[in-house]
């Protein structure tokens, strides 16, 4: 879906902004290598909107308390998810699941399913209409059915994966400790 615009032809939304400056930092996301979703650099977006069962919204609100408490554990173990949001939308008739992650989606899907089934199933069983459970053979077709591609997506530092960011923070901390020691 990405729009390629030549620098010379571009006319900015705001006449007070320079076309050169905008085009210098402009990102051109491409489609994920194998499936739906956009990708820029080492990052990709996953957006999913599924119908909610009657009564499912109340069930979800009850379960999401534990879901939130455990989110950092499960997503942290995955090691590739940069951010994730799950929202009930459209008067509780649909649920939105949107994530930014590094790596490709498809190669890891079986590993993710094997690992994250308890957490995802806890939140979605009986909530997502037709959700078969993550370990079901119908799980991937279900995800594909309701996955949508972002029309616009931006990611800062697109070349830095979650692991790169963690490593950079660690190096920065060690370097600052070194400088602190040298200074004292």
């Amino acid at each position: 879906m990405s729009v390629q615009v030549s620098e010379a032809a571009y006319s900015p939304i705001s006449a007070s902004e320079s076309a050169d400056e905008i085009m210098r930092v402009s990102q051109t996301p491409r489609q994920q290598t194998d499936g739906v979703g956009l990708r820029v650099g080492n990052l990709a977006e996953f957006t999913f909107i599924a119908p909610v069962t009657p009564g499912g919204a109340a069930l979800f609100r009850e379960r999401v308390v534990k879901g939130q408490i455990e989110a950092a554990y499960w997503e942290g173990k995955l090691g590739t998810v940069q951010d994730l949001r799950i929202c009930l939308i459209n008067n509780d008739t649909q649920i939105l699941f949107a994530a930014t992650y590094s790596d490709e989606f498809k190669p890891y899907v079986i590993d993710v399913i094997k690992f994250a089934t308890p957490w995802i199933d806890y939140m979605f069983m009986g909530v997502g209409e037709g959700f078969p459970g993550l370990s079901s053979p119908d799980a991937v077709p279900y995800l594909q059915k309701y996955q949508v591609e972002a029309n616009l997506w931006y990611a800062a530092n697109p070349d830095a994966t979650v692991r790169d960011a963690a490593r950079a923070q660690k190096v920065s901390r060690i370097f600052n400790e070194l400088l602190d020691t040298a200074q004292s």
């Binding site: 290598t33 194998d34 080492n42 173990k77 995955l78 090691g79 590739t80 590094s102 790596d103 490709e104 498809k106 190669p107 890891y108 079986i110 590993d111 993710v112 094997k114 690992f115 994250a116 053979p137 070349d159 994966t161 692991r163 790169d164 490593r167």
Partner: protein, 438 residues
């Protein structure tokens, strides 16, 4: 599930031999690719070849040659597999290897537009793999293969163990491979035991479910998918790179070992960290018996070394990835003459290696290994670093060798291998070949 239970159920006499059995160390052989011109005549030829196809039964018995046969998606269609059965085959197989170039990292010099013209053309329908231990024994199987009617031979590649007994870069090859539960073989120390459904359709896989293609269960039973890949080896570039980056002759060998994860003899760095140990390399009980638990930072065996990428063993314990569902069976065979020892300039002669990778999911096994482990480094915190030996490097890559007090980093990594072509195939059971021939 115990080995003895599965021993009774793996149908060795229906499974093609190359799937379960290793080729000998000394070998001669050929890979032949065909286009079907006349399906009826091709079926008759298949019928004549059928009795000569080698099954996995009685593999240890002496035999003059082995012959195995594979079919591409186009080939199965040309031979009349019904549309609903064809539809049950996975997308990647239907599309073929060239169409998966972004996933496989086949860009730049490796782009399918640079492959031998026959590859990626949808013209390849059938492939035959022949192997012998004596060159003169090739005559009979080659006669069978070359006299097939209703087909045109599009490509033929002669292979044979190099005179050095090692692959072209100088390493001893084919040391590690998974042990298939139910294959009737006792795993060697260090070999990982994997459920048969990961490699043979119709059997339980690592999840405990029977791995099968819905809608084509009967035709695909005892079959597997196979990725055929021909790689040119730029041996001179490899030698120059070692020379340019080494501090001494011994250091050249150390860098070569750090790139592979094994010394050229085959001795693994994890068991021989300082210097080569040919005695260890020759000991089949020890040569593959190691894990990475004691080396989480890769100080002994670099995290990005070839063997640690293609089979991370216990090295991904802190991640969600289960290496057992991403294992492939690999059969390699070298072609072309050895570059004379010490030569640092290419002699213009074509040489390389043909790999066949087998498993019941091209996407989950071959493509995963290629995409996530070979052509990326993020899975072990190495950013965009690729496999130093077979990754799609282009002269801009780096290779990190962890060391104390500071790591060593090799830069300007060129591509030492260049893809000459490849295709996705299906290796059916013998009853399925019989059906195709009927």
């Amino acid at each position: 599930m115990t080995d003895s239970v599965l021993d009774a159920t793996l149908e060795f006499d229906d499974i093609q031999g190359t799937l379960l059995r290793h080729r000998p160390d000394r070998y001669f052989g050929a890979y032949i690719l065909y286009r079907i011109d006349d399906p009826a005549a091709a079926k008759s030829s298949l019928d004549r070849v059928l009795p000569h196809i080698t099954s996995a039964a009685d593999w240890e018995e002496p035999r003059p040659f082995t012959l195995n046969i594979v079919f591409t998606f186009q080939g199965l269609r040309a031979l009349g597999l019904p549309p609903d059965a064809l539809e049950s085959f996975p997308t990647e197989f239907r599309l073929g290897m060239a169409a998966r170039k972004q996933i496989l990292g086949d860009v730049g010099a490796n782009d399918p537009s640079n492959w031998a013209p026959v590859f990626g053309s949808e013209q390849i329908h059938i492939g035959v793999v022949i192997s012998t231990t004596h060159e003169d024994a090739l005559q009979t199987p080659l006669g069978l293969a070359q006299n097939m009617r209703g087909v045109t031979i599009l490509y033929k590649l002669d292979v044979g163990a190099p005179s050095t007994g090692r692959e072209h870069f100088g390493y001893r090859d084919s040391i590690n491979e998974p042990s298939i539960i139910g294959s009737g073989r006792t795993p060697r120390p260090g070999q990982d035991s994997i459920m048969p459904g990961e490699f043979v359709l119709g059997y339980p896989d690592e999840s405990g479910s029977i791995r099968a293609l819905k809608g084509a269960e009967s035709f695909t039973r005892n079959g597997s998918f196979l990725a055929f890949r021909q790689l040119h080896c730029d041996v001179a570039a490899f030698r120059r790179f070692l020379r340019a980056n080494a501090r001494s002759k011994d250091d050249e060998e150390l860098i070569a070992a750090k790139i592979m994860g094994r010394w050229r003899s085959g001795a693994p760095l994890m068991l021989a960290p300082e210097r080569d140990d040919p005695q260890l390399a020759a000991d089949s009980e020890r040569v593959d018996n190691f894990v990475y638990e004691s080396d989480p930072r890769g100080l002994v065996c670099p995290l990005g070394s070839h063997i640690r990428r293609v089979n991370p063993r216990d090295g991904l314990r802190d991640t969600i990835v289960d290496p057992k569902i991403h294992r492939v069976l690999r059969r390699g065979a070298a072609y072309g003459p050895v570059l004379p020892e010490g030569a640092l300039e290419d002699d213009g002669v074509e040489r390389g290696i043909v790999f066949i990778f087998m498993g019941t999911s091209l996407a989950q096994q071959f493509e995963f290994v290629q995409q996530v482990w070979i052509n990326n480094g993020d899975f072990v915190g190495l950013g965009r670093e690729k496999d130093p030996l077979v990754g799609s490097n282009d002269g801009t890559g780096t290779y990190t060798i962890p060391a104390l007090p500071v790591r060593r980093r090799l830069t300007g990594l060129p591509g030492f291998t260049i893809v000459r072509g490849g295709e996705y195939c299906f290796l059916p059971g013998l009853r399925a070949v019989e059906w195709l021939a009927s």
